[in-house]
Amino acid sequence: MSRRSIHRAAAALLAALVAAPAHAAPDAPRIVVGAKKFTEGAVLGELMAQILEAQTDARVERRFNLAGTQVCFDGLRSGALDVYAEYTGTGLRDLLGDAAAAGGPAAVFAQVSTAFRTRFDLVWLAPFGFNNTYALMMRRDRAAVLGIAAIGDLATHPLRFGVSHEFLPRPDGLPGLRNAYQLSEAGTVGLEHDLAYSALADGSIDVSDGYSTDAKIVALGLVILRDDRAFFPPYEAAPLARADLFTRVPLAEPALRLLAGRIDDATMRRLNYAVEGERREPADVAAEFLAGLGLTRPAPPAVARPTGLLALLWQRRWITLSLAGRHLWLTGFAVLGAVLVGLPLGLAVSRRPAWSAVALTSAGVLQTIPSIALLAFMLPLFGIGVLPAIAALFLYGLLPIVRNTVAGVRSVDPLLLEVGLGLGMRRRDLLWRVELPLAAPVILAGVRTAAVISVGTATLAAFIGAGGLGDPIVTGLTVTDTNLVLSGALPAAALAIAVDAALGGVERIATPKGLRKQSIISS
């Protein structure tokens, strides 16, 4: 079975688990639309998804809020995604690794178009019509005081740089920029893109990177520094798709081409602002725009997110409930898997000190890998979506379960094992009748720890498209909406507490009565 077909099989399994949209025929072809986790990614993703829904009979699935370019690109190549919006400059510098000076927009588009077709069997469709180039920006007042208008002016000032994690290592990001402009290495921190804006606004950093269509540029009173040495290539956004999408769903290509050249810089900034500034859903903004172009039927008037936290929680109650359900089964599967593997593993190594040292150390090392990094490691193996999330949560759950199984079995009095053997128990009888019942409370405490860790870590699974209560957290961070973040974080915390309490109950029930009554000794 090739990796591709494993992905397909996994996707089919997931599709069976996740309810399909009601209007699509069960045998309709499926199109998976991806989006990077920032406002524009989501808006473009929605535009493509909705026009595909309107113009084809395909079942369209959305995998939004993906962690970055690499996740989307890998997802596309592995077949977990069919299409997402990419930028020509990113394709050139980041994905093709071409650092040579770029030509104009048309030249760059032709260049990536040919290269992606031959090297990856991926197709760039005609761009949407705007150029969202990378840009360095500062607060307008600060730039005015220092007399900075262009990137070339930065070299003479000792300024604090705070750039997004994606910009920090990319050849078309900071390293190339430093080279081109002879900027100093000192005083640069990596920040979450959306946090960088807040840091700029409150003055804790001076310069940050951003995208020229960001709604926040207007909202926060920032100024874009002129790229006086033409370092940044053109970044025209365009649908990037698997070639096989258009053979599976021939109508998909003309549908996506309907968007070509429809969105200029000002339009894109306006759409972004509608989401971030007016607190509306990307889906509603996209629907309104498409209806305005006459490409789809007019949508019912959309509702903006309420500003109060309680009102928001109430408005989102059903969404939250379904996200919590998804969150629970994600963690449930992961913990179940960790029990099925960790318990036998712990039992197998518990009587062999050298083996248990190896098992505990390996599980311990897994635990020290930062959650987001572990999730990222899973991507090449499982693509994006639910599977890598479950795999990562499963690995996290192993340590507490293996550790507590070993500790629980070791805590059983050796005399009792000798008595069991002396009475004629087989190894198996000893395990089921003596070791497991006596070790049960300790083992269950391990399962409980694993479950609580898992519920917490699963909020990060939204970054790789697995959904769950992390979804509003990631979206909220993207659009700088603290209440939206809380609408995911609060239920996630409540869920962790509930899971902890429920498993605490199971633990008490499973503790043998004879061990509970230890204190009552009558004579």
Binding site: L415, G420, G424, M425, R433, P512, G514, K517
Partner: protein, 245 residues
């Protein structure tokens, strides 16, 4: 009948726990293995139920070399009682008594009939104590439950390792009396490990005195008392209080 022939046990660390020990326990008699700690008496007991294997020598039960026997089947024909009873703390008194019958797959009616019979034999109130967990029982009750557990499937042989060692003197005395009366009724082949001269002489038909892995004298209590084989034996039995005689 249990026979040991030139049995030695050397542990992997080189410690010789038992050197060339031979003795026979005839059917229906009680042999006490007597000696100070580390003399090899517990090792001897564990060799008989194959928790340990001898380094050299041969052990026969009812004429068959146990080296070729299935250890599980062998142990199920031998009751096993240890110091402080070694009861399973997660099982009730009844649960502990029923361990071996359950392993043997007895039907519930047979198990419970046998358990009531044993409680009666030990003069314990079944209705009051069967559902108690070990932690709720007194030391004497626990040791009786341990004995019932060993006798549950009516094995012809019973191995006892310091069974009364952890009890206070009056309780120990009472249980020793009960043991003697039980032994008169049940006629088991018993091997009893003890460091207590009084207990060995009181309970056993014959006493084997061990010192540093060697058998120094094996005889009836009267014969040992009348003619100690060495100054060591004379010194060792002198620790028994006058009341024991």
């Amino acid at each position: 009948m249990i026979e040991l022939e030139s049995v030695s046990k050397v542990y992997p660390d080189g410690h010789a726990a038992l050197r060339e020990v031979s003795f026979t326990v005839p059917r229906g008699t009680t042999l006490a293995l007597l000696g100070s700690s580390g003399c090899g008496k517990t090792t001897t007991l564990k060799l008989i139920n194959r928790l340990l294997m001898p380094t050299t020598g041969c052990i026969r039960v009812d004429g068959h070399d146990i080296a070729g026997a299935d250890p599980i089947a062998l142990r199920r024909r031998m009751g096993y009682v240890v110091q402080e009873a070694g009861l399973f703390p997660h099982l009730t008194a009844l649960g502990n008594v029923e361990v071996v019958p359950r392993l043997l797959g007895w039907p519930p009616e047979r198990r419970s009939a046998r358990a009531r019979e044993l409680f009666a034999l030990m003069r314990l109130d079944f209705d009051a104590l069967a559902a108690h967990f070990p932690a709720q029982l007194s030391g004497g009750q626990r040791q009786r439950v341990g004995l019932m557990r060993a006798l549950a499937a009516d094995p012809p042989i019973v191995l006892m390792d310091e069974p009364f060692g952890a009890l206070d003197p009056p309780t120990r005395r009472r249980l020793q009396e009960e043991f003697l009366s039980l032994q008169r009724q049940l006629d088991k082949t018993v091997v009893l490990v003890t460091h207590d001269v009084d207990e060995a002489f009181r309970l056993a038909d014959r006493v084997a005195l061990l010192d540093a892995g060697r058998l120094v004298q094996l005889d009836t209590p009267e014969a040992i008392r009348a003619a100690p084989a060495s100054a060591f034996v004379a010194d060792f039995i002198a620790q028994a209080p006058a009341a024991a005689r």
